[in-house]
C-alpha cells in the first residue's frame, strides 16, 4: 500500500465509511469538513479534521483548489472524493495528479470522456455495447413511419437540438407519427432555431440495471454483479438490490459482458458503474451512461460478493494488483438497500433537517446500516437529505424482503421527519414483494397508493 494518509473530501455516511475503510488498512484519514460538519461522525472518527470553509458547498466541498490545497497542507498523499460533489469532475482528478496526490478513482481523461454523454455513447458503440435503437436525421412523417416499422412501435421522436421535452412526442402508431411530426418539428424550430428530428425506440416497461465494475487501469477489469435500481422518484433511486432477480441468466451474462467490454476498452481504473436500461418486454439492454465513481448503492454489491469495495478502491489506487479472476467473485444470496432521508413524504418530500433525538437503527442477521447519524446529531440544512442506508441480506429475494420489512419495522428515529413511512409502505406492496416493478412504478403506482392510505 503506497498510500499513507488520505484526505476525505466528502461528507455524510460516505465520509464516515471512507475514514473507517482507510483506517482499517492502516491509512491515516484526514477529514475536510465545512463549518456545519465539525461535529460530524467522519470528523470524530478521522485521525485529523480540518475545517476548510463555511457551510455552503460552493465555498467548501465544491472548491477543487481548496480541497487539493488542504491535501497538500496536511501532508496527504491521496484524496477520496466519495460520491456526488466533485467526485466526477475531471478538474479535481487532474489537479490531484498535477500535485502528486493519488486521486482514488478513474484517470481524469476517463472521467472527462465518460462524463460527456455523446463521447460515452461513441465509446460504448465502439466497444460493441448496445444502445437504445434509433435513427439519424429524419426528414418527414413518411420517413418516420418507415423507420418506425423497423424499430417497432412505440417510438420516441426527439428534436436533435432539443432539451426540456420541446419537440418530443411518443408515437404508438403510424397515425400518431403523421399527426405529430410537423407540429413537433415546428415547435423545435421555434424553440432552438433547428427543426431537425430523430427517432428512438421507446421503452414502455423499463428497469434500471447497472453493473459494478473495477479496473486496474491496465485493461484488467472485473465485475461485482449487477444492481436493479428501478424504484426511483424523479430519477432519484430509493431502493436498490442485487442481483436483478427479474433478469434471466443469459441476459445477465450479456449485461456483464457489455459492461466489461466498455470499461476494458478505456483501460478503466478503480471503481465504476455502467448503467443500462433493461427493456423487459423485449428482453434487451441498452447502455445509458457510466458513473465514474463509487455509488450510493455499492453496499448491496458488497453484501452479495463479500468484497469491501471501498477498501478495494484504496488497494487499487495504492498500486496493488487486482489479482482476482472473475470466477472468484461469485454472487451469493440477495441484498436490498433503501435510502433513509430526512424529508417529509406527505409534504412533497420537503427536506426536514433538524436534531435527531433518538437514533435506533435496526440490527440483527443480515441487517447493515451505513449512516453518519447518532443520538443528538444535527442534520444540517445545507446538503442532501440522506441520513443513512439500510441494507438487508438473505439467501433469496423473498427472505430478503421479509427481513427488510422486519428491519424497517424495528427502525426508530425521533426528532425529525423521515421517509420511513414511505419505505415501509413500499416494502409491503405486492408489486414490490412480487418484483413487478419498473422505473415508473413508484411515481405511477407506489406513491399514489401511499397517499391514498393516508387519507
Amino acid at each position: 500500500m503506497s498510500i499513507s494518509r488520505v484526505l476525505s473530501v466528502n461528507r455524510g455516511e460516505i465520509a464516515a465509511r471512507v475514514v473507517k475503510a482507510a483506517q482499517a488498512l492502516g491509512i491515516e484519514a484526514v477529514q475536510a469538513v465545512s463549518q456545519a460538519d465539525r461535529e460530524s461522525m467522519a470528523a470524530q472518527l478521522a485521525d485529523r479534521t480540518v475545517v476548510i470553509g463555511p457551510a455552503p458547498s460552493r465555498l467548501s466541498y465544491l472548491d477543487p483548489k481548496l480541497l487539493v490545497h488542504t491535501a497538500l497542507a496536511t501532508g496527504c498523499d491521496a484524496l477520496h472524493p466519495g460520491y456526488g460533489f466533485l467526485s466526477e469532475r475531471a478538474a479535481l482528478a487532474s489537479l490531484c495528479a498535477e500535485h502528486g496526490i493519488t486521486f482514488i478513482g478513474p484517470r481524469p481523461e476517463t472521467i472527462a470522456a465518460l462524463g460527456d454523454k455523446l463521447e460515452a455513447k461513441a465509446l460504448a458503440r465502439a466497444a460493441g455495447v448496445p444502445l437504445v435503437p434509433g435513427t439519424d436525421r429524419i426528414a418527414d412523417a413518411a420517413a418516420a413511419q418507415a423507420a418506425a416499422e423497423t424499430l417497432g412501435y412505440p417510438v420516441l421522436m426527439k428534436a436533435s437540438a432539443g432539451g426540456g421535452g420541446r419537440g418530443m412526442f411518443i408515437a404508438r402508431s403510424a397515425a400518431d407519427l403523421a399527426a405529430g411530426f410537423d407540429k413537433a418539428s415546428n415547435e423545435a424550430r421555434e424553440a432552438f432555431g433547428d427543426g431537425t428530428m430523430y427517432m428512438e425506440r421507446y421503452v414502455e416497461n423499463a428497469r434500471h440495471v447497472e453493473v459494478q465494475v473495477f479496473g486496474d487501469g491496465k485493461g484488467h477489469v472485473l465485475h461485482f454483479g449487477e444492481r436493479d435500481c428501478s424504484i426511483q422518484r424523479r430519477y432519484q433511486k430509493v431502493f436498490e438490490e442485487s442481483p436483478c432477480a427479474a433478469m434471466p441468466q443469459a441476459l445477465r451474462e450479456e449485461l456483464h459482458r457489455a459492461a466489461l467490454s466498455l470499461v476494458a476498452s478505456v483501460k478503466y481504473q478503480n471503481a465504476g458503474t455502467v448503467e443500462f436500461l433493461y427493456d423487459v418486454n423485449r428482453q434487451e439492454i441498452y447502455f445509458i451512461e457510466v458513473n465514474a465513481r463509487i455509488q450510493v448503492e455499492h453496499p448491496v454489491s458488497e453484501q452479495v460478493t463479500g468484497f469491501d469495495l471501498i477498501q478495494l478502491q484504496f488497494r487499487v489506487a495504492g498500486g496493488e494488483p487486482l489479482h482476482y479472476t472473475q470466477d472468484q467473485i461469485p454472487v451469493r444470496g440477495h441484498a436490498i438497500e433503501c435510502r433513509l432521508n430526512a424529508e417529509d413524504p406527505y409534504q412533497d418530500f420537503r427536506p426536514s433537517p433538524g436534531r435527531i433525538t433518538r437514533w435506533q437503527p435496526p440490527r440483527g442477521a443480515g441487517v447493515r446500516v451505513d449512516s453518519h447519524c447518532y443520538d443528538g446529531y444535527l442534520v444540517p440544512p445545507f446538503y442532501d437529505s440522506m441520513i443513512g442506508k439500510l441494507i438487508v441480506t438473505a439467501a433469496t429475494r423473498a427472505e430478503c424482503v421479509e427481513r427488510l420489512q422486519a428491519a424497517l419495522a424495528r427502525t426508530e428515529i425521533d426528532g425529525l421527519t423521515t421517509n420511513l413511512p414511505l419505505l415501509r409502505h413500499i416494502a409491503q406492496q405486492p408489486d414490490f414483494i412480487d418484483n413487478q416493478l419498473n422505473t415508473r412504478w413508484l411515481e405511477t403506482t407506489g406513491l399514489p397508493a401511499f397517499g391514498a392510505k393516508q387519507e
Binding site: 465545512s34 470528523a43 478521522a46 476548510i52 465555498l59 488542504t70 497542507a73
Partner: protein, 168 residues
C-alpha cells in the same frame, strides 16, 4: 491498610447496581468507617442516622464519602478552531482554509503592523489557496493589537488571524 480507605466510588456504584438489579427492599453495607445503606422505601432510615426522604424511589446514604469522581468523556476527538479572544478585542478570521501571508509578496513590508490604525477596507493579510492569493479586508475600524498566525502557516476556516481593538 485500613478498610475505609479503600472504598472507591466505583465500589459504591457497583453495590448500588447490585441493589438495583435485585428486588431487595434494603441493603446495608458496613466496611470499617464506610457505611452504605440502600432502600427502596423513601422513608427508610439508615441503621445509624436519619436520612432525609428524597423524591426518587431509591434512597441512598453514603457515610464515608467518595473522593475522585468518574468523569464523562467529551464527545469530539479533534477540537477544531477554538481560541480565547481577550476581552475588548475582536478577531479578524480566515474566510476559508488556506495559507496565511502577512505581506503582498516575499520581502515586501507586511500589510499591517501592531499598533497600526485600520479601517473596514484595509487589507490586513493574504490567504492563499493553490497559488490563488485572496486579500482579507479588516471589516472593522480599530487598532491592530496582535497578529496570531505566523507567515506561511496553514489556517482553517474561521481561525482568528489578527486581533483588533475596535474604535469606540
Amino acid at each position: 491498610m485500613s478498610a475505609g480507605s479503600n472504598i472507591k466510588p466505583q465500589d459504591v456504584e457497583g453495590l448500588i447496581e447490585l441493589f438495583k438489579a435485585s428486588n431487595w427492599d434494603e441493603m446495608h453495607v458496613q466496611v470499617g468507617e464506610f457505611e452504605l445503606f440502600l432502600s427502596n422505601d423513601p422513608k427508610a432510615v439508615g441503621p445509624g442516622k436519619a436520612v432525609a426522604a428524597p423524591a426518587a424511589p431509591l434512597a441512598v446514604s453514603v457515610a464515608a464519602p467518595a473522593s475522585a469522581p468518574a468523569t464523562a468523556p467529551a464527545s469530539i476527538a479533534h477540537a477544531p478552531v477554538t481560541a480565547a479572544i481577550p476581552d475588548g478585542l475582536v478577531a479578524i478570521r480566515a474566510p476559508n482554509l488556506g495559507t496565511f501571508y502577512r505581506a503582498p509578496k516575499p520581502g515586501a513590508p507586511p500589510y499591517v503592523e501592531v499598533g497600526q490604525t485600520i479601517s473596514e477596507d484595509t487589507e490586513v493579510c493574504l490567504i492563499e489557496v493553490m497559488k490563488l492569493f485572496a486579500p482579507v479586508a479588516a471589516g472593522l475600524r480599530g487598532v491592530v493589537r496582535e497578529v496570531l498566525v505566523k507567515d506561511g502557516q496553514m489556517v482553517e476556516f474561521d481561525a482568528p488571524l489578527i486581533l483588533v481593538e475596535p474604535a469606540k
